[in-house]
Structure formats: structure tokens, C-alpha cells
Symmetry: C2
């Protein structure tokens, strides 16, 4: 089903305690390959009807105003996914 | 910087209270285009050195065992991103 995927990540300069906790846990579980982890959010928005450019523009607006906190987070991706 | 992106979403049959809250908030903020929202997680893993197929295999293993809870979540994507 077509849907809009919005990806939000903590800004690089913002401390990410969840990511830090995962980095600490990885080697204890045998994963020594990874030097850093950041945890963000992924949203999937569904739409009844066609996803037009106007709908994508509204999704970008919602991403910046409701789905992310622009003080501490960046919207890194807003894309249409068909599968 | 090259990094590995892991996307995790709640399984379709699992209630997603955060997504439900967002669906309720959207029309109050003037966004009437969206019929559903699911909220998941996005992880960005960094690696010192080259990201080989062996490292990607470890990332997929970490995604299934540490980054997601397989009872309630699906790993929907593990990919190498260069930018």
C-alpha cells in the first residue's frame, strides 16, 4: 500500500541517551563492529486516495511541526513508498 | 559518512498508541489528509573502517536481537547509506 515515510533523528549535537545505551550493550552481546548508534523515529502515514504533490507538501509540513521537535530533532527524510 | 540504517516498525496486528495519538492530533492541527499513522524506530549505526558484507550481517543480527523486540516489532529495513 502506498504510504509516506517520515524519518526523524536527534540533531548531531544533541545527546542521545538511548543510542548511548545501545552502544554500551552491543559489545556485551558480542557485537564489536559498531562505534556509534543514534536512535530516531520512523513514521508511516497512510492516505485514503491518491498521494499527490499537495499531500506530500502537507506531510512535510506535519513532519516539521507535529512529528518532530525542531529544537532537538531533524527531519531527515520524507518519501513516498510503494510496496 | 557511511552508516547502516535499521528501521523497526510495530507489527501490523500490534496496537500502536503513539501512532493513534498522532492520528487524533493531526486533524486538530489542520492536517486532514492522513487516515493512519504508525510510529516505529530508526537506528543509525556507525562503523570505524569499511562496511563489509560481514558487518552488514552482524547489523542484521543486532537488528533482530537487540534493536527490535521480535514479539511485537518487525525489522523492515537494514541498509547501507552513503552520504
Amino acid at each position: 500500500m502506498p504510504r509516506i515515510v517520515v524519518d526523524v533523528m536527534p540533531k548531531p549535537e544533541i545527546l542521545d541517551p538511548q543510542g548511548k545505551a545501545i552502544v554500551g550493550a552491543l559489545p556485551r552481546l558480542g557485537f564489536t563492529e559498531f562505534s556509534g548508534v543514534r536512535q530516531g523515529k520512523r513514521f508511516e502515514l497512510t492516505v485514503d486516495g491518491e498521494i499527490t504533490e499537495a499531500v506530500m507538501a502537507k506531510a512535510r509540513e506535519a513532519a516539521e511541526t507535529l512529528l518532530s521537535n525542531p529544537v532537538i530533532e531533524d527531519v531527515v527524510n520524507v518519501e513516498l513508498v510503494n510496496d
